[in-house]
């Protein structure tokens, strides 16, 4: 499925804003992303599997509170960097 990558993480994807990844859940999708782009997962998910404070992940435009969301092959996943201030 399509995964939209925010600018903050594109060093890991070779500059690509949109990549392909697979997984039946958000957790599995992120594991696949890590296999394809080593290091990317820990920058957005902490060691307790929590989504970091200034990262948001949307599945079909609905914000995912954690990594348990089930995914289908044609779902769209959007990762967003969410931070304000200087």
């Amino acid at each position: 499925m399509n995964v939209l990558i925010p600018s903050q993480l594109r060093d890991y994807t070779g500059g690509r804003a949109q990549v392909e990844a697979r997984g039946a859940t958000l957790a599995a999708l992120l594991a696949d992303l890590e296999r394809r782009y080593p290091g990317i997962r820990f920058r957005m998910i902490d060691e307790q599997d929590a989504i970091r404070r200034h990262i948001r992940i949307f599945v079909n435009q609905q914000q995912a509170p954690d990594l348990s969301a089930a995914l289908a092959a044609n779902d769209e996943v959007v990762i967003v960097g969410a931070l304000s201030g200087g």
């Binding site: 903050q8 920058r43 957005m44 307790q48 970091r52 931070l83």
Partner: protein
């Protein structure tokens, strides 16, 4: 006070160009001098937009740099360069606490705060201090990191640090001031803000508090065993039985194997006090050290007292202090110098450097006798380390 016993002869002074490794809230800058340290060129930024708490050169090979990086949006990591910063590669396994068992709350590294190269007999060994307070070790030059379970999983850890606190000091409670005894790689000291100073004699498997004589005015308990707020603690490599500490509550010296710290900050001028963040040692004289006082009154402004910044130097192990402010703003200078943001090079006379929260780098080629601004308009500076020479 007896002169410190030197474990080995002082190294010959350096004479080549100096490189300053400057970590800032918005990335890394490298400043290179000529041999006379009179002209400086500024290169960078590297990691633009990233928060860099510490950038350290490995003295064992003179070319490996480790850099503690996080971004506003992104989690913490460590980058490494084996060619003095030309190319960078991220750690394959950055410092991270173990995953907690189901139903239990685990720790998550917020940022890597401090980096210390390991013992000279252990090439590739590094230590990292993180926030919330945790200690990590790498044995492969920073590629992979493992928690030091003797501290991180110690049942007393949560007691020593006063509970897990979301906020703590500005930037969060943190582990720092990792000192490795040059005579024994198993012998370690660490500082925790807040938590205190701790010692291990078995490479981190067990720890014990080392805070006797240190004030903790913010605690209700008189003479507590732990809970103190170490700002910066340094062991002198030529006299490893001597430790100096800039604490939230004063400046101290400890002569091992004694256990009781002596408040050498009592000899500072009363109008200035002995509160500050950094503490810098002379590379060849264990009796010489510099501090940069800050205002610790009322709401703790943490700026130069009275808006008149100055370093203070002692040449006798803290028995007496001398103000060093020539060249610095005589008034309306309200910056702060953070605990990793002051350092010395190995020249003779020693060059002393500091970076400010207002993005300036100052240097003195005369051991603090006169200060010169060598960079302005940088982001808030978190760390300055001198390399080369």
């Amino acid at each position: 006070m007896p002169k410190a016993k030197a474990a080995k002869a002082a190294p010959r002074p350096a004479s080549g160009p100096v490189t300053l490794l400057v970590g800032t809230r918005k990335g890394v800058f490298l400043m290179k001098s000529d041999r006379a340290r009179k002209s400086w060129t500024l290169a960078g930024p590297h990691f633009l937009g990233n928060i860099v708490n510490h950038l350290v050169l490995d003295p064992r090979d003179g070319r490996t740099l480790l850099c503690a990086v996080r971004a506003g949006h992104l989690g913490p990591t460590v980058f490494r360069s084996t060619d003095l910063g030309r190319r960078w590669k991220e750690a394959e396994r950055p410092p991270a606490f173990p995953k907690a068992a189901l139903g239990e709350k685990g720790l998550a590294v917020d940022h890597v705060f401090w980096l210390t190269p390991g013992h000279s007999s252990e090439p590739g060994a590094w230590y990292a201090g993180v926030s919330p307070p945790g200690l990590f070790r790498s044995d492969d030059g920073g590629v992979t990191w493992e928690g030091v379970a003797g501290f991180n999983a110690n049942p007393m850890r949560i007691v020593w640090i006063g509970g897990e606190q979301e906020q703590g000091p500005p930037g969060g409670a943190t582990l720092h001031s990792i000192n490795v005894d040059p005579r024994d790689p198993r012998h370690l000291y660490i500082g925790i803000s807040a938590g205190g100073a701790f010692e291990s004699s078995d490479r981190g498997e067990t720890w014990r508090p080392l805070n006797q004589g240190v004030a903790a005015d913010f605690l209700p308990v008189k003479d507590p065993e732990y809970g103190h707020d170490v700002h910066c603690m340094r062991l002198h490599p030529l006299a490893p039985d001597r430790l100096y500490q800039q604490n939230h509550c004063g400046i101290y010296r400890l002569e091992r194997p004694a256990e009781r710290w002596d408040r050498i900050g009592n000899a500072m001028p009363k109008a200035i006090g002995d509160i500050g963040f950094p503490l810098v040692l002379h590379p060849r004289d264990p009796d010489a050290l510099w501090v940069f006082p800050m205002d610790g009154g009322t709401v703790w402004p943490r700026v130069s007292p009275g808006g008149k910044p100055a370093a203070y130097v002692s040449r006798d192990g803290g028995r007496t202090w001398r103000r060093q402010d020539k060249g610095l703003p005589a008034k309306q200078g309200w910056f702060t110098v953070k605990r990793q943001a002051m350092c010395a090079d190995a020249h003779d006379p020693v060059g002393v450097y500091f970076g400010t929260t207002s993005g300036e780098v100052w240097m003195s080629a005369s051991e603090g006798g006169r200060w010169t601004s060598i960079a302005r308009h940088l982001p808030e500076i978190y760390s300055v380390e001198a390399a080369g020479g």
